[in-house]
Every structure is written in structure tokens, then in C-alpha cells.
Symmetry: C2
Subunit: 149 residues, 2 copies
DNA sequence: TGGGAATGCTTAGCGGGGCTAACGAGTTAC
DNA sequence: GTAACTCGTTAGCCCCGCTAAGCATTCCCA
């Protein structure tokens, strides 16, 4: 029976470990919803993108989150119903829908994010500086991996 | 507008980056289902546990995956229907259900895992040795984070 | 300039997989 | 013997991926 350390020395072993770790951590993060807020992980991600990059189309949001358009349509519709986001027409292209953050959405995402990340930030504070440094380097790599073909 | 690097210097910023990265990578990994196999991420995780640790009860599986019992009941039922797993009685405690890997389940999980992790392993091979080393160190930290309260 | 191809979004519907609430069967403690 | 607890299940909710198919709109080209 190989130990975890030995298994992780191969790429396949590292792949398996990463898969399980990523899966479990996401599950844990999804759980961290405050009763008073009703933003899901996917909604958070979209509001975060709009906050950082200004208005975006449905298609751009879908590509950035690596999701199929129908999935993004649904998320945006939900956010629109909540009043956090507004749909608008494109200046020149009648097919395109432009999504913008409403003022209320801006407030909500900032407040919500700080609450939501509070749990994880606390856990991070319990790690050693070395471990935090590892995660700092790992985070962008994970994101890049998710964008690979 | 702060750059990503600056944001990640704080624990809250790192938390946000990790959240997004983990979310996206899990999505990407869940997508990597081969048409010929019908094992989902959750099913893989359970079969992997049984492969490594032998027979386990529903409750043990739920605790190990950090899932509520009803969720594990459903996953195990599905695996049982597929013939990859068998439910059995506990020796002394009539309440407990013991789950074991069938011979077929054993074969399937090994074949499936290698196919499933193939994509990720290829991506890992494209990274620099330094980046791979970072992920090797990060993987167990992610898993530990997922187990925190 | 008219018409087919391409593009952007939506609708409909499927499935995985989390959760809580409530309950029955079995066990334990008193 | 009975009350309290524990394990697993059922029922039902929600999130959030996906594909297939359809409707506008735009683009391109004969």
C-alpha cells in the first residue's frame, strides 16, 4: 500500500490528490453561506467579475467562468431577479446582452464577500507562513489549470 | 484597482483567489467524464476510499468525505445499483450498514481513475517543475482546509 | 440586395449532488 | 422496561453543470 507521499510523486498521483482536495474544499466553501445572504458560489463569482471588470456580456461571463451560455443565462437571470444586476442592450449589436452591476449589487457583493471569505481567511491564519506562501503560489496555478483545454 | 498580486497578499484576498480557483478547477475536473464510464466525481471519491481503506460504513464514508449521511446514502445506492459496491450487515450492530467494493467495482475504479486523471496529469506535465512542486505541497493543505471546522 | 451561414442568447429538460426535516429500527443506559 | 440516543433512510428542496433546439440578429457573399 503506497503512502500518500509516494503516490503524489507521479503526475497521476498528484492529479488524484488534487482532484480530491479541490473537490472537498469546494464543497466546504459552498457550505459557507450566511443565512442572511442568498448569494451562491456561482452568483458570487459573476458579481466579482462585474465588480472587477465593469459591464460584461453573457457570453463574456460564460467564457470567463468556463461555463456554457445557458448556465450563465440562468445565473444572470437569478441575479437580475434579486436586483443585483441589470440587463441592457448592446450599443451596436442587437443580439448581445450587456450585464451591469447595480448599486445594490455592488454593496451586496462587497459585504457578502467579506462574510463569505471570513471562514477561509480564519483557516488561512491558522496555517504556517510557509503554507500560506505555498497557497499564494498555488492559487493562480489552479486557475490556469481550469482554463486549459 | 488593485492587481491580483496585491490582493493576494492579505488573507482575505488569498481566500477570494483560492475560492475562485478551486471552484473553477473543480468544474473543469467534473467535466472530464469519459463517455464510456459513468462514474461521477463523488462516486470516484467513494470507490477510492473503499479501495484504499477496505470496507467502511455509510457513516464513516460520510464523515471522511465531509458530507451529510443522506448524501452518502444516495451515492452508495447509486454505486450499488451499478454493481460496484455491496451493502452488508455489521457483525454486531444491527443499525450499521457496511459497504464493500465488489470485484467489478475494483476493476472499474482503477481503469476509470487512470482515464479520469489523464487530462489533469497531462496539464501537470506542461507545468514547470517548480509549479508542480508547489501543487504537491498545496494538495494536502487544501484537503486539510476542507476538514477544518 | 437577397438569402444562407454564423453568432448570441434563451427555453426546456436532464442529472449530479449538496442540504434539512422527519422517521423507523436498533442499541444503550438507567 | 423504557427513554434517549444513534444509524440509516425517505422525502423534498436548491444549486448548478450540461445538451438540444429555437429565435433573433448580424454577417457575408453571390
Amino acid at each position: 500500500m503506497p503512502t500518500t507521499e509516494a503516490v503524489v510523486r507521479t503526475n497521476a498521483g498528484l492529479a488524484a490528490e488534487l482532484r480530491v482536495g479541490v473537490m472537498r474544499l469546494r464543497r466546504r466553501l459552498a457550505l459557507e453561506r450566511h443565512p442572511e445572504n442568498d448569494l451562491s458560489l456561482g452568483q458570487m463569482a459573476v458579481l466579482g467579475l462585474l465588480l472587477r471588470r465593469g459591464e460584461l456580456t453573457i457570453g463574456e461571463l460564460a467564457r470567463l467562468e468556463r461555463v456554457q451560455p445557458p448556465s450563465m443565462t440562468r445565473t444572470v437571470s437569478c441575479l437580475e431577479q434579486l436586483g443585483h444586476v441589470a440587463r441592457g442592450p448592446h450599443e451596436t449589436d442587437g443580439r448581445v446582452v450587456v450585464v451591469t452591476l447595480t448599486e445594490r449589487g455592488r454593496e451586496v457583493v462587497l459585504a457578502d464577500r467579506s462574510r463569505r471569505d471570513a471562514w477561509l481567511a480564519v483557516q488561512l491564519a491558522h496555517l504556517t507562513p510557509d503554507e500560506r506562501a505555498t497557497l499564494r503560489r498555488a492559487a493562480p496555478i489552479l486557475d490556469r489549470l481550469s482554463q486549459a483545454d
